[in-house]
């Protein structure tokens, strides 16, 4: 993995193909081991994640701004492996909470800023003499990651100030229903609609977004082939399709019965979506993110979860998919994007979520619409799938 890799942001699907520099080889000194294995190698993944938990190699410095996201991959990844006891939960929760931005008073909520979680320490500054934030760099993706970590470490989200967070999140929603990631400006697309929906779900409060507008934006992103692009008019993409379907599910606009319902009564074209999604499984068994592109570990989750959410996962060739994923399992632990490449945190995390979708016994079950471990006791995915009532 080279320094140019920007795969880090949770909801930032960049598709680098030029990442094959081998200068990180030195970082992983491990005794020589067989190249690929026939099974999910839990022990090696634990070693990998724990090593990353203790110290991220310098290659990750270029993703410094997304440090909460990197932490999310590691800590939620450890949870999938049933190993959250390897981290000090209180220490982690306190660290995450230290990234939350607060308004000095309720009046400042109207100034158009968003009060969520910062992505990293480098953009955070001490409060000034008036008790105001000098710079508020709260970001929607970081906020999603922060809440995700708090959830899996067992922190009670009822104790955090969600009112200012949700009230100010409204400031990020645009007239077309999309969301900006940060109030200082940024690209608006389906990723941040998804973040807003997942945040609302985790906090159990939908007052921070206009669901109807968000729905209309999502539907505008469905392409002629049945998949969804990240913005209206753009090419169907596994990540965009995931954000679309998971958001519609979280908002209660579609249920598990999507395929069995009469197509004409549906808000989207479910049969074309199913066909497009299944067609993404390539002859090597892996999933590609777009038509005629190479298979890539992370799309086993992005597309696999879409299929799970629309009730089409039984049609996946699971044996072939498992084989592909195992060919991306690194001898150092973790997963790479393509077979034989070096592992990175992003593809490792989505490798775990993919194996969880495949019901690998060594992994915790998955909540597909949140992209997180299923935590029924904590209110994530109650009854296996968010709020399903039509609203």
């Amino acid at each position: 993995m080279s320094e140019t890799v920007v795969h880090g942001e949770a909801i930032e699907w960049s598709e680098e193909e030029e990442e094959d520099s081998d200068d990180s080889e030195e970082e992983y000194t491990s005794p020589s081991q067989p190249l690929s294995s026939a099974n999910f190698d839990k022990d090696r993944h634990l070693v990998y994640l724990q090593m990353m938990y203790e110290l991220l190699p310098y290659h990750y410095q270029s993703q410094e701004i997304n440090r909460l996201t990197l932490a999310h991959f590691i800590i939620c990844g450890l949870h999938f492996l049933g190993a959250t006891d390897r981290v000090d939960k209180d220490e982690v929760a306190n660290w995450v909470l230290s990234f939350q931005a607060f308004p000095s008073n309720r009046a400042s909520l109207k100034k158009g800023e968003f009060y969520g979680f910062y992505g990293s320490r480098s953009s955070q500054f001490p409060i000034d003499e008036n008790g105001d934030l000098t710079h508020n760099n709260s970001h929607l993706a970081s906020t999603y990651c922060a809440l995700a970590i708090l959830k899996v470490t067992g922190h009670d989200l009822a104790t955090i100030d969600s009112e200012s967070l949700l009230l100010s999140m409204k400031n990020l929603q645009q007239d077309d229903g999309s969301f900006m990631p940060i109030h200082t400006g940024g690209e608006t697309d389906l990723r941040f609609v998804y973040c807003a929906a997942a945040i609302s779900e985790m906090l159990g409060d939908w007052s921070g977004m206009d669901k109807e507008k968000a729905k209309n934006y999502i539907l505008n992103c469905q392409s002629y082939d049945g998949g969804f692009g990240l913005i209206p008019g753009s090419e169907s993409h596994g990540g965009g399709t995931y954000c679309a379907i998971a958001s519609l599910r979280l908002m209660g606009f579609i249920g598990v019965d999507l395929l069995s319902n009469d197509s004409s009564s549906s808000i989207l074209d479910p049969s074309l979506l199913l066909n497009w999604s299944l067609q993404r499984q390539a002859s090597d068994g892996g999933f590609q993110g777009r038509t005629n592109k190479q298979s890539d570990t992370c799309y086993a989750f992005w597309i696999g979860a879409v299929l799970k959410l629309i009730g089409g996962d039984a049609f996946i060739d699971k044996v072939a998919l498992r084989q592909f994923l195992l060919s991306c399992q690194s001898k150092y632990g973790g997963f790479s994007k393509f077979p034989g490449a070096l592992p990175d945190l992003y593809h490792s995390y989505y490798g775990y979520t993919a194996f969880s979708l495949l019901e690998e016994p060594e992994l915790s079950p998955l909540c597909p619409e949140l992209g997180l471990p299923l935590l029924t006791s904590l209110g994530i995915c109650k009854g296996g799938g968010g709020n399903h009532q039509k609203s």
């Binding site: 920007v6 110290l55 410094e64 049609f315």
Partner: protein, 325 residues
Amino acid sequence: MDSVATVPLSERPEWSDVVPLTQDDGPNPVVPIAYKEDFRETMDYFRAIYNADERSPRALRLTEEALRLNSGNYTVWHFRRLVLEELEHDLYEEMNFIESIAEDNSKNYQLWHHRRWVADKLGPEVAGKELDFTRRVLSLDAKHYHAWSHRQWALQALGGWENELDYCHELLEADVFNNSAWNQRYYVITRSPFLGGLEAMRESEVSYTVKAILANPGNESSWRYLKALYKDGTKSWISDPSVSSVCLKVLSRTDCFHGFALSTLLDLLCDGLRPTNEHRDSVKALAGEEPETNLANLVCTVLCRVDPIRANYWAWRKSKITVAI
């Protein structure tokens, strides 16, 4: 790396009056990063300048150094915009700067957001520049998602539609499997103010696509595009003989993949196409001894065989068939 960056900031006279503002990672940092010294130093100086809100020429240069180390850092990009505005900096120069950053790594959202901000300020006079820039990026990676999004935005916001269909053709000539180029083609025929929309373009587009399909019957992109040409409902694809005839032509060949032709025929049958003997014969020729009277069922049976990775799906499609043909 820029040569200037090889001298540490702390040793440059220009920066001697600035006290770097170190990042407070607290007593128990979680997932610490093993920063390299130049990264740590640059970001500490950036923090000092950003916190002091110093919108100066040297601040602009510092953001460049910081962006060369982490071009995905949206805070640095944001501050750079504030400085550019304050200094009324030449935005054409800024475009060159963006292009030089893109040479190292053009796959980040922040760079393209910044590019859009600059192009939006300069307006329609840079329409051609934006099309050239994205063309250069696409010449290295013809499926570059950010470049395509930016190009679509530039067309909508700044104009320059005139040659876009030719450009799509050029890319499809180079690689007919390039789904991004097919997507762009659809974007152009449905949105270009010069082409009259889908209905006006349908006939010529169908014949273009049929040629592409016959040259590569295993190309999913062209089949999807063909179906999309009937999306506006003004002409039904079951009544257009071109669609079923391209299926028949492909099915009659023995040297190619039949999956997409079969799945298109299945869709046509499910949508109400009355099959002819020619349809029946061409499918039966592939089916061998399968004892099936319903043609749609038979198509599914063959699909299970020619597309085994989706065999469960085709079996399910078969179970859902309601047409008795």
